[in-house]
Subunit: 341 residues, 2 copies
Amino acid sequence: MASQAAGYNVAVVGATGAVGREFLRIAEARDFPIKSLRLLASARSAGSRLRFRGEYLQVEETGDDSFRGIDLAFISATTEASRHYALIAVAAGAVAIDDSSAFRMDPNVPLVVPEVNAGDLRRDRRLVAIPNCSTTPLVMALAPLHRANPLTRVVVSTYQSVSGTGTAAMQELTNQTKQALDGGHPESEVYPHQIAFNLLAQIDDFLDNGYTKEEWKMVQETRKIMHEPELPVSSTCVRVPVYVCHSEAVHAEFRDPITPERVRELLSVQPGVELDEPGRPESWHHPVQAAGQDAVYVSRIRRDVSHPSSVAFWLVSDNLRKGAALNAIQIAESMAERDLF
Amino acid sequence: MASQAAGYNVAVVGATGAVGREFLRIAEARDFPIKSLRLLASARSAGSRLRFRGEYLQVEETGDDSFRGIDLAFISATTEASRHYALIAVAAGAVAIDDSSAFRMDPNVPLVVPEVNAGDLRRDRRLVAIPNCSTTPLVMALAPLHRANPLTRVVVSTYQSVSGTGTAAMQELTNQTKQALDGGHPESEVYPHQIAFNLLAQIDDFLDNGYTKEEWKMVQETRKIMHEPELPVSSTCVRVPVYVCHSEAVHAEFRDPITPERVRELLSVQPGVELDEPGRPESWHHPVQAAGQDAVYVSRIRRDVSHPSSVAFWLVSDNLRKGAALNAIQIAESMAERDLF
């Protein structure tokens, strides 16, 4: 980070959101070199204060002139906010790292998980997208396997936490849970049906092909990040009454036969992936354990008995961290290391 | 039911359990012809009273002489209880319908979902097993499709409710949820880890091949019920913080190409299966809605984009009803209809 002796001037759009707050915690814990920090949010949240490195900083309303002098803008608000402010931030000279789906499939925008495709980062690509929080852990586990033995098909079912929707959804889960325990009828505002003690088999809107946009993001983003535009991928995305961490049941087919032992060997050297204890299948991971952690946890690796060259496994990852804020900071660190700012 | 003018002498082993209580509710609602009813349970529950047809009946401790004069014994307790009492009931002249895994894979014991393989019921097979509560809804959806176009592979991920474990697990979910909302540290007795706001990627013990017994039951029972001993099936079984209903994300591959429209057509005439509204993908089903209902609800039928002759769908079913007690009563009704008692 030679060019920024004292660090970067950083703006966080959506600072008061679940991902924005996690960004601040992670940046502080990793000692990310921040010279100045501008916390931005909608008018509704402007004026509130957030703590960073022992100081309380006031949140300002995001505006078109919020990005003057900014080196790095992290945007995790609404897709509309991303559409508007990402380009303004880049025009103002910043690198913008965007958490929305607005630009992910734009061929001019790198979609990056640094452990997988840091090579897609370039000095002349000032707008960088981070994948959906369900895609990131999936490609973290698939990429090292694919390099060793080409994937021919991926089928995944997700178990996604409410923090993926945001803080209002986390509050709705709490409120509805209390209402249900009190014998009342839980009221839904964020979700179409009760989420407390329930499952919702729809995340985002439906497409004409019967998939939801969330499911389609997993298909398309996985292909883009792995540079395999035709990779057969199918997913079912389900919201579960869990606060933090997305979990996934993955079935991966390969061109050639592959053993669970080989999968374990390949994943054991993949940065950012943690495995269960060898020989102790009961040491599988779960959301409460993985929340607040950086790793993508992979367990229950086994031969898929329904196909001769397929394996099945279970993964759990903090959707606010590796699924969002941590991945964004790692992108910034990766760009800094290679002097791409 | 010509041979039993006034109905059957019925014994329910495990009457105070989640499935046992549901058996009583369903038998009453369906007006199942019961001449006398004997409620049986462990010593711990003996002496309690349960309501049936407006009367309170006292629960007795199950013993070796509990089945004298009994025509039909329904057993839903522990596997050990099944192993012991099922054969005693049969020896005493009863038809025993058993909810445990003790006899399901025994070649001499029919494993039956009446809408699928009622033909396996025989007068000289006095012990009948009902499938695991995650298998039954799966074969309800797969069987009519398989008859039209042979299945070549099934991959399923489950989202199973705590009532599948029993009433103690339902109470643990309630207790832990309250503890978690109060900011405390939930205590686990039934499950190895917290289930409140969490997921458990293990149901039953592990086998050497990395699958759990629950997952392996789905593989083997599906094959037996569908008379396809080699059918490639793989599953991941996950416990979710939901009280009632098991849900499943299913990917089914067929020998020949098949459209979602054809799947809908085939399932629309399958007794016991209910579909979402045509053209309204957002009318998918969820556990809170399906709890207390008899049907297996199938929604989100779509072409699986990862395979040329595969479809994906979502199913939800009350694990205490079609997954257990209702299926048992339907077996008894089916045997009565065909004079097999």
